[in-house]
Amino acid sequence: MSSLALDANVGSIDARVDAIAAGRSRARKWRYTSYFVILAVVVWTVEAIVIADTDWSRILTGSLLTTLGRFLELDWSLVPDLWEPAVETILMATLATLGGLLLSIPVAWLGASNITPFGKYSYAVGRFLMTMSRSVHEIVWGLIFVSAVGLGALAGILAMAVRSVGFISKTIAEAIEDVDPKPLEAVRAAGGTKFQILWFAILPQIIPVFVGNMIFEWDINIRRSTILGLVGAGGLGLVLFRQMAASNNGGIAVVILAILALIVFGEVVSYYARKAVI
């Protein structure tokens, strides 16, 4: 871009016009080529997914409507059995958020460039741990922990805690990198140790960010804990799994409605909690 501007400034007006026109036509070619590539890949994927892999005769012969209809025959008899798993789901999400917080503190300490203890090596370790935690899907974490600690709420809590580390520690590390350095200097000048600097100068500054993000993560964890039961951790997901195994479509619909209600509850609570904090 800058070389073009330079070319355009020297030489006659014709040369300048030519340079600008050439730049435009190059940009246009580049743009049309990328449109064409995007479209070609779309055609290829549509061919593979929508045409080759889908049994349209089964979907179009009306079985679609009958299946949908079966979902609409809601099985309300399930509702009394849903309270306990719902409470379980909320408790799992809360414990997982607290556990994720505990795990995040050392990771954030390593991954914040201004306080990391061993220079760029520990910084790289911290960043690597954050990426690992975020890039593995919660279902995969769930499978790993279910096989490690057995079926039950503990596996789900550990899976969500580990999955939360990525987000919580990344935001904490960024907040630490943004702190005002003056209180740090003041504590150091008063003879504070490294730990005292962390505790009295950095911690008070990052608490607001921190609490807001914890509430946000709690909200997301509620969403996650509703499905972790599908791989063997308790809560509403387990009920959903049982209904699926029994192919009780009305029951599936009721459990999903309960999950939606729970998610809306989580969202409302987190909205007001964040408003109260900030």
Binding site: I49, T67, L91, S135, G152, T226, V231
Partner: protein
């Protein structure tokens, strides 16, 4: 002559040692701490979590993972079928992202408070659609669509599309809400209608942000696409489910490793692309 500070300390009005929290605040603080601990105890008890198993857990976990999952059976994933499923996962994530972004663009326009054509009707409806897509976990979309459409790539793609709409729609509309109003007023002053204002005043301002968001969305969608197969939509997750059901732990380990590998590759690719594009456009 005694200093003011000495007098203050001697009179007992100012404590000798400094604390961050004094009487009322310290009470609230310890109360909150106690409440949190009580809640944790209650939750652990309610969920009947075997706490006594926690201390030796890490060691046992390592041992068991080592015994049952090591060495991962790499041979299980080194065949053409499995490689084809990786390509299918890519296809699903691609189509879902393109479709989702296409739907999310007008929705984000309607759902941005400053630019929406109608604050009365379109704004709440678009917000509701985006929030609805967001708040349902992508796996639940998958389960529902698999139950309705049957096994295959199509329900997975549609589930990921819905997820993509929720995810990118929110970020897109936030980007629109952060634009500068000057250009909008200038375009509007020339007599442009809503669509023309959107195309000539809003799009050029959000182009860079949206490109970055699109790539990031693809990354997140791809991550989800590796596991939607677990509930009956195709791709790598389908193999995962099949191995989990056979309790073939060494195969599961190989598949999990391959999933982590491709996800990390996609993340690196998306980070690289985002920096490149931000530099190229800016």
């Amino acid at each position: 002559m005694p200093q003011f500070a000495d007098v203050a300390v001697a009179s007992g009005r100012v404590p000798l040692t400094w604390r961050r929290f004094r009487y009322p605040q310290s009470l609230y603080k310890y109360g909150a701490l106690l409440g949190t601990l009580a809640f944790i105890a209650f939750a652990l008890d309610y969920l009947s979590i075997p706490l006594e198993r926690l201390p030796g857990m890490l060691g046992r976990m390592g041992e068991m993972l080592g015994r049952r999952y090591f060495p991962p059976n790499i041979g299980h994933i080194m065949n053409a079928d499995y490689w084809h499923s990786v390509v299918e996962t890519l296809q699903m994530s691609y189509l879902a992202t393109v479709l989702g972004i296409t739907i999310a663009i007008p929705l984000a326009w309607f759902a941005s408070f400053n630019m929406t054509p109608s604050r009365r009707y379109l704004y709440p409806v678009a917000r509701l659609i985006i929030m609805g897509c967001r708040s349902v976990h992508e796996m639940i979309w998958t389960i529902l669509l698999v139950a309705i459409l049957g096994f295959g790539l199509l329900p997975g793609t549609l589930a990921l599309t819905l997820f993509c709409i929720g995810f990118s729609g929110k970020l897109f509309s936030e980007a629109i809400e952060a634009i500068r109003p000057g250009q909008v007023e200038a375009i509007r002053a020339t007599g442009a209608n809503n669509l023309q204002t959107f195309v000539f005043a809003v799009l050029p301002q959000v182009r860079v942000a949206w490109t970055g968001i699109t790539i990031y969305t693809w990354d997140v969608v791809f991550r989800a696409a590796t596991v939607v197969g677990f509930f009956g939509a195709g791709g790598m997750g389908w193999y995962l489910r099949e191995s989990v059901q056979r309790v073939a732990s060494k195969d599961v380990a190989a598949i999990l490793l391959s999933i982590i590998l491709v996800v990390v590759i996609s993340e690196l690719l998306s980070a690289w692309l985002r920096t490149r594009i931000a530099r190229a456009i800016a």
